[in-house]
């Protein structure tokens, strides 16, 4: 790992890093906004469908896709954690501490967001979409 990565790899690595830290949060935000928006507005219009798609199917998609994205972020965070665990920090110029901290934050927060999405999914199994 001592070879110096080229700028493209650094960019990809940097993006992967932020996906690992914030991916779950963004996925959950999308899940919430689409799930809530579709449910409240479709039901307000008295319809059990979004265009040609049945409401329940559309809502399932707003649960499953973000959940998968969060799992991906969780894996990325784990990778980041492993890549930064056994690095010897020689003082100042190896800023691994910061990455390690955020890796840990990423792992935990992705777990939290995954839990929220799964709990929302359980509600989808139990409740009829438009019951008030």
């Amino acid at each position: 790992m001592s070879t110096h990565p080229d700028p493209r790899a650094r960019l990809a690595g940097g993006l992967l890093f932020w996906y690992a830290v914030l991916g779950g949060a963004i996925a959950w935000a999308l899940h919430l906004l689409t799930g809530w928006g579709i449910d409240e507005l479709a039901c307000a219009a008295g319809s059990e469908a979004v265009g040609p798609v049945p409401l329940r199917t559309a809502l399932s998609a707003t649960v499953v896709l973000p959940a998968l994205a969060t799992v991906g972020a969780l894996l990325a965070a784990t990778l980041l954690w492993r890549r930064t665990t056994h690095v010897v920090t020689d003082g100042e110029d190896r800023p691994v501490g910061r990455s390690r901290l955020l890796a840990l934050v990423g792992i935990w927060s992705n777990l939290l967001f995954l839990t929220i999405i799964v709990l929302g999914g359980i509600a989808l199994l139990v409740l009829p979409p438009c019951q008030r």
Binding site: W108, T115, L119, I122, A123, V126, L127, Q131, R132
Partner: protein, 320 residues
């Protein structure tokens, strides 16, 4: 503190307490509350034990700084255990939410309640009349309540029967009531609705089906006719004065739609949606100047002369 909480349930002192539920909906929520209460007490006790332990065994002066970052305790006590509890509680909440959403079937009795600043209009579909601040339900049956508002937001809340449902301007909301215990249950507007939000109470009377049917038929029929001379003079004053412009008394010339229908005003539990009790003195005071009784309400002071006032009171009290 714990003792206080435990003592409290017994001493609600005639309050419309959510912890003394009579309705199916409120009963479920009360059960849920006790689960939450005991879990909370356990968690609170845990925190207090740790805190007291630290305070007793860990006090020092001028101690040296220590380092080290043990994560395991925080992870287990702060995240692991709470996760288990919270998921369980979430599931319980979901179960009760489903139960509360189970409205009555299509053939159920429906009562329409409209919120006004600051009183409740009560109607039954198919029945001509209306009443105010009081609705009756048959014991043992699920009754659909259809909620509208004539002006601002209100919230329909009978703590002993059912959690609240807001009245949303421009929309219709529904809830339901069911109780197996005959009795009267106090309800009150729970969404801030302006000057007299404090005085916007109502009463739910749960009674056997037969009495409920009697209430329904009374709601559909004309008001009682005046029996005495005083009452007759009162009716005349009512119809010819400004009263009739705002209030209805069924079967008379008074058919105003701005204020509450007064056809059964004599039998109501209060004046001004819970502002004062319903007796001659309060009634007279209300007619003369309701602003002193319930400041800010929309009924202007009435220029009734002093001789006519007793007649008016006698008439209104006869409307039962």
């Amino acid at each position: 503190m714990l003792g206080g909480v435990l003592a409290l349930t017994g001493c609600a002192g005639g309050a419309p307490s959510a912890l003394d539920p009579a309705g199916t909906g409120a009963g479920r929520v009360a059960d849920l509350w006790w689960v939450l209460f005991w879990i909370s007490m356990a968690v609170f006790a845990e925190v207090m034990v740790l805190l007291v332990w630290a305070l007793v065994f860990r006090r020092r002066r001028d101690a040296r700084v220590r380092h080290g970052q043990p994560l395991r305790f925080v992870a287990i006590a702060g995240a692991g255990i709470p996760l288990v509890i919270l998921v369980t509680v979430y599931a319980l909440g979901l179960r009760d939410l489903v139960a509360l959403g189970d409205g009555p079937g299509p053939e159920a009795t429906t009562i329409e309640v409209t919120g006004h600043r600051w009183w409740w209009e009560v109607r039954v579909p198919g029945v001509a009349g209306a009443t105010a601040n009081e609705l009756h339900i048959p014991v043992g049956e699920k009754v659909r309540i259809r909620l509208r508002t004539a002006d601002v937001l209100h919230s329909f809340w009978v703590p002993q029967l059912m959690p609240k449902t807001d009245l949303i301007a421009g929309e219709v909301r529904e809830t339901w009531l069911q109780t197996d215990r005959a009795g009267t249950y106090r309800g009150q507007c729970a969404e801030y609705c302006g000057t007299q939000h404090a005085h916007m109470a109502f009463l739910v009377v749960a009674e056997p089906r037969r009495e409920f049917d009697a209430w329904l038929s009374q709601l559909g029929s004309p008001a009682a006719r005046p029996q005495t001379d005083a009452q007759r003079r009162g009716q005349e004053a009512f119809e010819q004065g400004s009263c009739a412009g705002c209030h209805t008394i069924r079967g008379t010339g008074a058919d105003g739609r701005i204020g509450p229908d007064l056809s059964d005003v004599g039998s109501r539990w209060s004046i001004g949606a819970g502002a004062v009790s319903n007796d001659g003195g309060h009634l007279g005071g209300w007619i003369a100047n309701s602003q002193t009784v319930k400041p800010g309400n929309f009924m202007p002071p009435q220029p009734v002369d002093a001789q006519r006032l007793p007649d008016l009171i006698a008439y209104l009290q006869s409307l039962t």
